[in-house]
Symmetry: C2
Subunit: 183 residues, 2 copies
């Protein structure tokens, strides 16, 4: 009998959904404790109706001062941001903002693991790239280049495998890059 | 000339304010990268006015699935929750909820540093208590006791010094408990 290769395509699911599902899986299997931070909002007005829950009636989205995900894995502090693009040949730096870059550099300085997960949605390819490279390209922006060429991401980054459980097995990639780089 | 002892009382400032100010100080002095997580809200309805920022018109407070503070200090993952009480002789366990206790146990299991900061606001005393004790008292609740006696907190915990910069020097206490326990 001929076995058919099962291909787990994530087309249609957002990168954030995939990571949340993966984190949930990692939590349930006791592999890592990683959570998405809540969306930061500035709350201006709250209603307190009798006999029911408080309702926020006016609030505004705030710019995050950190990255979206952090937690602990194998005793190490782990911190990352995830972004996707429809671009095919490079990853636009406008997906990030100054505060996040500063935060990533701080995490690196203090001995944490800091990286970004980049997805090219048109081809459903995801990469892990250490934040040191992002910091480098961010600083080079003043020289003109506003994006990271895909070739550079393929060279300096590591591709992440799509699956069913977890949907995006990024900790396998983290192992390869930060824990057992000689394998 | 007689020098007057300067006493830094935090009376009137909330514990959360004190910790936020301390984290800001630690960040600026490059001592640790610790942030408060945003308040989790369930966003139901958003208005997008022309020419101005999106306004959240209906949202609800959600129960946090983790603790409020985490980050990296001396290469270690650090995670804590802060609570104050007006009680004088014990700390009521109703200040915590099941999800947070589970989260703390997970952090301990994965090699992170996990503790709580407890303040008795009537006397302005703050203590650091390792989460393992909270987990213990939480489980004992079924036996009847719904609070941690202050005597136990004084014995198992470590008092935190109030100051001006930072207002609550809890990392000095973290050093004493987790990094240089023999000093
Ligand atoms: Mg984000
Ligand atoms: Mg809280």
């Amino acid at each position: 009998s001929v076995k058919k290769e099962v291909s787990y395509s994530n087309r249609g699911m957002s990168l954030e959904d995939d990571i949340n599902q993966s984190n949930q899986f990692y939590l349930l299997t006791n592999k890592a404790i990683i959570h998405k931070k809540p969306t930061p909002v500035q709350i201006v007005n709250v209603e307190y109706p009798k006999r029911s829950a408080a309702v926020i009636r006016e609030a505004y989205f705030k710019l995050a001062s950190t990255t979206d995900y952090n937690g602990v894995y194998k005793g190490r502090y782990i911190d990352f941001e995830a972004k996707e693009t429809k671009n095919k040949t490079s990853f636009p730096l406008k997906n990030f903002h100054e505060h996040q870059i500063t935060h990533m550099q701080q995490i690196l300085d203090h001995g944490g693991i800091s990286f970004i997960i980049l997805r090219f949605s048109s081809t459903d390819e995801s990469y892990l790239l250490d934040s040191s490279y992002l910091v480098h390209y961010w600083k080079e922006q003043s020289m003109g280049r506003k994006s990271i060429p895909k070739g550079e991401i393929e060279e300096k980054g590591y591709s992440i495998t799509n699956g069913y459980q977890p949907r995006l097995n990024y900790l396998e990639t983290v192992d390869r890059v930060y824990f057992y780089p000689s394998l």
